[in-house]
């Protein structure tokens, strides 16, 4: 019982950490894409990652 709970808790923590670094961004993009533009093929994970990096660092995203 307690190990199962611990495992659950650890999985939750890992998921939260993944969300914090936006590892889930690609899945969110896929879900959105399937819903909004079903007629065009989505970007691959790698293309998506590279394009997002480029966009993210084109503005102010870090402070002093």
């Amino acid at each position: 019982m307690t190990t199962a709970r611990l495992r659950n808790w650890l999985r939750g923590a890992w998921r939260f950490a993944q969300a914090l670094v936006r590892d889930d961004a690609y899945d969110a993009y896929l879900a959105h894409h399937r819903h909004a533009h079903p007629e065009t093929p989505p970007l691959s994970r790698r293309e998506f990652y590279l394009r997002e990096q480029e966009r993210k660092w084109s503005g102010v995203s870090r402070c002093c």
Binding site: A19, R55, C64
Partner: protein
């Protein structure tokens, strides 16, 4: 029940602050400060931020946010508020809140601590939250755009120029901090150098091996960084290897400059993005660890509450308590730079308007906590040691014996043996005149970690702290260079179209080179300046940062008044008035003061007179002309920054006056509540 609880919080807070204020002993336990801070933050968050949200901003939980309306699965994505909180905090917390309080500790622990608390709760947090809210209501528009839309073109241009100047000064001063931390320290230099191939390795991993798996890649990277810290220690023991990493300030400055240029023109996935992931991990982890360690150790604060240096004779930077403590501590109390993030990435993630309280106000509370921890880390050192590390040779004397004599004569006893032993413990050659704040902060952090976790690895903790600071300073350095480049390309694109194309390589190289040359110049002068450079650059940075806060608060005040909320306008107008006062007084003193330790022009004149009389030592005479020119340039910059602030204030007052008189003003740029999602 709730009321009783909050009354208790208020009582405990008042008791702790009273305890600190009335304390008359040699030392005071840091727990007093921690409890006082916790109560002030809790009250500010629970009551003031809630009141602003419900009564002033009229937060509407039922209104669709841009993340929902414009959801594109990329930048506009409705996100859980704790995730947005994490992102926003990671974006606003840089080295600023660590360095500012360390420098301001020369006034004693009390002035800086009070300003951090009051400034954050009534100023910084309010700015961040209101800007975030207003930008969320305007589809995530930037502060510059909002200034243009709501006040007029003048405010918009001022925001752009202000941002460019602050970026240049910020990068220069942070570069100087890194250079001073690496100077003649093979261990620190080797570790910082090692962070570059590690970041590249992670970049390749994220692109080619496991695309976009950031969490696992970051964990690998952090493990490698820790290994690099320990490896640096081993290298430091090696007779010949260590000489490969033993450099003077000038070559290190050139290294930082060349590095900054290369990093800015490389693709982001290779170096910038992966290093940012690593620095975010380190940042959150270290801050978390430091918070635990401070509570576990609850160190005694050895610095007096207030030192004699409030009279303006401070060795770290010249100038009286007012206004210079407020300029020195910008990040941690109020930082205009945050308004750029709060009106950039974050508003596009907000999934419900009610989240702006946690994300805007809450993140700044946490950043302010970081500043308090930095203050504790600086003031738990023996004051004599603190001043010996942070005072430039031009102030206390070039040799260890002279420095020790000068500092002891101020009433802060310290001996050469004590400093030698401390340096040995930290694995450094010397800790004298390691200005910039990073080394003394690292000594403080190492003492806290070693004290709390009962470890004898002081030297490893010290270099871990240096690596930690260096990693995110380097991130700021090339992220800032890129932002400066984009702004420059945007401006030059008006002169000649191709220069504005952000992907045209010649334009990228040219504009990056110009930005790097801008901050590289100030960095280089800072390194050759015998007074340490920090004395010049940090106040300029503070003024520039507060100027940006002034512009953001002008936009907020102007919008509140346009919305007919004149009676609530003080929420942003009071911090604005304070910012305007301290920046103007500080700039005035930096320009006209006859004390060469404070006034740029007085310093230039003094140097010129000594050069003409031939009384300068040879080494100084060689660079005197550059230093004289730089001081005059700094005076001009201070005047320009202040002028920009007052132009925006005048513009805001003009709009407000027109509102009050019922004259036409630019229409509100707020997105209507019933705006539909655009057709896909």
């Amino acid at each position: 029940m709730g009321k009783v609880l909050w009354a208790c919080v208020a009582l405990i807070g008042a008791f702790a602050i009273g305890g600190i204020a009335l304390h008359r002993g040699e030392t005071i336990n840091a727990m007093w400060i921690i409890v006082a801070a916790a109560c002030v933050y809790a009250l500010g968050y629970r009551f003031y931020s809630a009141w602003i949200a419900t009564r002033v901003l009229l937060v509407d939980e039922t209104r669709a946010t841009p993340a929902h309306r414009l959801n594109n699965g990329r930048d506009f994505v409705p996100t859980h508020r704790w995730i947005v909180f994490g992102h926003h905090f990671a974006a606003i917390a840089g080295p600023g809140p660590l360095i500012g309080p360390t420098l301001a500790a020369q006034f004693g622990f009390l002035p800086g601590t009070l300003w951090i608390l009051v400034g954050a709760v009534l100023g910084g947090c309010v700015q961040d939250m209101t800007v975030l809210f207003l930008s969320t209501r305007r589809d995530g528009r930037s502060i510059g755009q909002m200034a243009r839309d709501e006040l007029g073109p003048v405010g918009g241009y001022a925001a752009i120029v202000g941002t460019l100047v602050i970026m240049i000064i910020l990068i220069a001063v942070l570069g100087l901090v890194v250079v001073n931390a690496m100077k003649h320290s093979p261990w620190a230099t080797a570790t910082v150098f090692a962070t570059i191939p590690i970041a590249i390795l992670i970049g390749l991993y994220l692109r080619n091996i496991r695309p976009g798996r950031v969490l696992e890649a970051s964990l690998i990277g952090v493990a490698l960084l820790l290994f690099a810290v320990i490896g640096g220690g081993a290298l430091n023991e090696h007779e010949t290897l260590r000489t490969w990493f033993d450099y003077d300030g000038k070559p290190l400055a050139w290294f930082v400059i060349i590095y900054g240029f290369v990093a800015a023109v490389l693709p982001v996935w290779l170096l910038l993005a992966p290093r940012d992931y690593l620095s975010t991990f380190l940042k959150l982890g270290t801050i978390f660890l430091l918070a635990i360690a401070v509570v576990v150790m609850s160190p005694d604060i050895k610095m007096p509450a207030v030192t004699q240096f409030i009279d303006g004779t401070g060795p770290i930077f010249g100038g009286k308590l007012f206004p210079f403590v407020f300029i020195t501590i910008a990040c941690g109390a109020i930082s205009g730079f945050h308004s750029l993030v709060a009106s950039g990435t974050t508003p596009k993630l907000i999934s419900n308007e009610s989240d702006v309280r946690l994300v805007g106000y809450g993140s700044m509370v946490l950043e302010s906590c970081v500043a308090i921890m930095a203050m504790i880390a600086a003031t738990l050192l023996d004051p004599g040691v603190y001043f010996a590390i942070n005072s430039a040779p031009g102030v206390v004397g070039a040799t260890a014996a002279e420095a020790v004599r000068t500092i002891t004569s101020w009433g802060f006893p310290v001996t050469v043996e004590q400093m030698t032993e401390l340096a040995q413990q930290m694995g450094e050659e010397t800790l004298f005149a390691r200005t910039g704040g990073a080394p003394s902060l690292a000594v403080g952090m190492a003492s806290i970690f070693a004290g709390a976790f009962g470890s004898k690895m002081l030297a490893v903790w010290y270099h871990f702290a240096i690596m930690f600071e260096a990693v995110f300073i380097l991130t700021t350095l090339d992220a800032g260079t890129r932002v400066g480049r984009f702004m420059l390309q945007d401006a030059l694109g008006h002169l000649w179209k191709p220069l504005g194309r952000t992907s045209w390589y010649p334009s990228v190289v040219l504009t990056s080179g110009l930005v790097v040359a801008g901050w590289g110049y100030f960095l280089y002068i800072g390194v050759v300046d015998p007074n340490g450079g920090i004395n010049i650059l940090w106040p300029l940075f503070g003024i520039a940062n507060q100027l940006l806060a002034g512009i953001a608060l002008c936009v907020v005040t102007g919008i509140l008044i346009k919305q007919g909320k004149l009676r609530f306008a003080w929420v942003s107008a009071v911090p604005l008035a304070w910012i305007a006062l301290i920046t103007t007084v500080a700039a005035w003193e930096k320009v006209v003061s006859s004390d060469p330790r404070i006034g740029f022009l007085a310093a230039a004149d003094q140097l010129a007179a000594r050069l003409a009389a031939g009384t300068l030592p040879e080494a100084q005479a060689a660079v005197a002309n550059q230093l004289i020119f730089n001081q005059r340039l700094d005076a001009v910059l201070a005047v320009i920054l202040t002028a920009i602030l007052w132009i925006v204030i005048a513009d805001m007052l003009r709009i407000s006056w027109r509102v009050v008189r019922g004259l036409p003003v630019p229409p509100s740029s707020e997105t209507p509540a019933n705006a539909a999602a655009p057709a896909q």
